[in-house]
């Protein structure tokens, strides 16, 4: 009787272990998630930015355009954000997610999401959220956020602090 009970307990332990293990393994979200400092962004139009805790600020009197590179590890971007501060009363910090491919004959092909813009002047950092980035093709294209930062306004500077992309495995 005792032996049967022990076997029952052991069998229960096995079942529980299997269930727990399955739940742990299957329940894990299979994502690669990275946050990048905006000091990695490159200006492609406009004056050089200033750096602020590894973010970038526009101290100039004209807008700047930057590309902020993202590692493409799986080819399946999912969600992301760009953390920005907009201190201009009438121009927004605006970003879009690019997936670009250059072919052998020198042509460029790209997908770009609908842009996300900051809602108005504030001292706070806000996130421009890209919550459903559709899989781009080709999957091995280069990924980046492309953003514009408005000029300085009365000694107040707009900025990009960091950005993030989560990829599906």
């Amino acid at each position: 009787m005792t032996t049967k009970r022990t076997i029952a307990v052991a069998a229960g332990t096995v079942a529980a272990t299997l269930l727990l293990g399955a739940a742990t393994v299957l329940g894990q979200a299979n994502f690669i998630d990275r946050v990048y400092p905006a000091s990695g962004c490159t200006v492609w139009s406009g004056p050089a930015p200033s750096y602020f805790y590894s973010g970038i600020e526009n101290h100039s009197s004209s807008a700047i355009w930057v590309d902020c590179p993202v590692v493409n590890e799986t080819g399946n971007p999912n969600i992301g954000y760009v953390q920005v501060r907009d201190r201009h009363p009438s121009s927004a910090v605006e970003c879009t997610f690019f997936s670009a491919w250059g072919n052998g004959s020198g042509n460029i092909t790209f997908w770009a999401t609908a842009p996300q813009a900051s809602g108005g002047s504030t001292n706070r950092f806000v996130s421009l959220i890209f919550d459903s980035i559709v899989d781009p093709d080709p999957s091995r294209a280069s990924f980046y956020y492309s953003c514009t930062i408005p000029p300085a306004y009365s000694g107040r500077y707009s900025a990009i602090h960091s950005y993030r992309l989560e990829e599906r495995e």
Partner: protein
């Protein structure tokens, strides 16, 4: 006799018990191995990432909440994984060529799909005419370097054949296209020719996405 019978019963039960415990041990080892392999494949920003713990895809609110906790200073960015020296960093030449060919085939297929949709889509008289005019006006107003903008909107998307006056203007003009549209939209752009002045853009209708071609 009765104690001997009891020992016999216990003796018969023991092998079964051992098998059960061995199964349990095997299951534990299996799941431990699976967990380790997943963590390795995910790199350092894996399941233990503190932000991931509160986030699932599509959850903008939670994403924003998580961000709000990090706005008082530089973000605690997880280090980007660096491939160890023993890992092959680049595909070999043949694989790279195959990848290029596959990518170019995908692009050709995407362009063919747009052409097919343009031929098949029912014309939306209310939206198409107004959208065509709005898009053409926005492009020519915002990008004065454009020499030519041939725009046509269908039921779910628009096509714009564009030509800039110089290659320099072409480069910046194509890159700024997402920001000059009259409505926020996903776009697909394909530049053509060696002069970098020509290309075609496909723009999704408001609140829509562009159809993807599958190989």
């Amino acid at each position: 006799m009765s104690s001997r019978a009891a020992r016999d019963r216990a003796g018969r039960g023991r092998p079964a018990l051992h098998v059960v415990w061995l199964l349990a041990l095997a299951a534990l080892l299996l799941f431990a191995a699976l967990g380790v392999s997943r963590d390795r494949s995910r790199g350092e920003a894996g399941a233990g990432h503190p932000i991931r713990a509160g986030l699932e895809p599509g959850s903008s609110d939670r994403l924003a909440t998580a961000d709000a906790t990090r706005t008082n200073g530089p973000a605690a960015a997880p280090p980007v994984r660096v491939a160890p020296a023993s890992e092959p960093a680049q595909p070999d030449d043949a694989a790279g060529l195959d990848e290029n060919a596959a990518a170019n085939a995908q692009i050709e297929k995407q362009l063919a799909l747009f052409d097919q949709l343009a031929a098949q889509e029912a014309y939306d008289p209310l939206w198409s005419r107004a959208a065509t005019a709005r898009l053409r006006d926005a492009l020519l107003t915002e990008q004065r370097e454009l020499k030519h903008a041939d725009v046509q909107c269908y039921a779910t998307f628009c096509r714009a054949a564009l030509q800039y006056d110089t290659s320099e203007h072409g480069e910046t003009g194509f890159r700024r296209l997402p920001f000059v549209l009259p409505w926020p939209a996903e776009i697909f752009v394909h530049t053509t020719g060696e002069s970098r002045t020509d290309g075609v853009m496909y723009v999704a209708r408001e609140n829509a996405t562009l159809r993807r071609a599958t190989l």
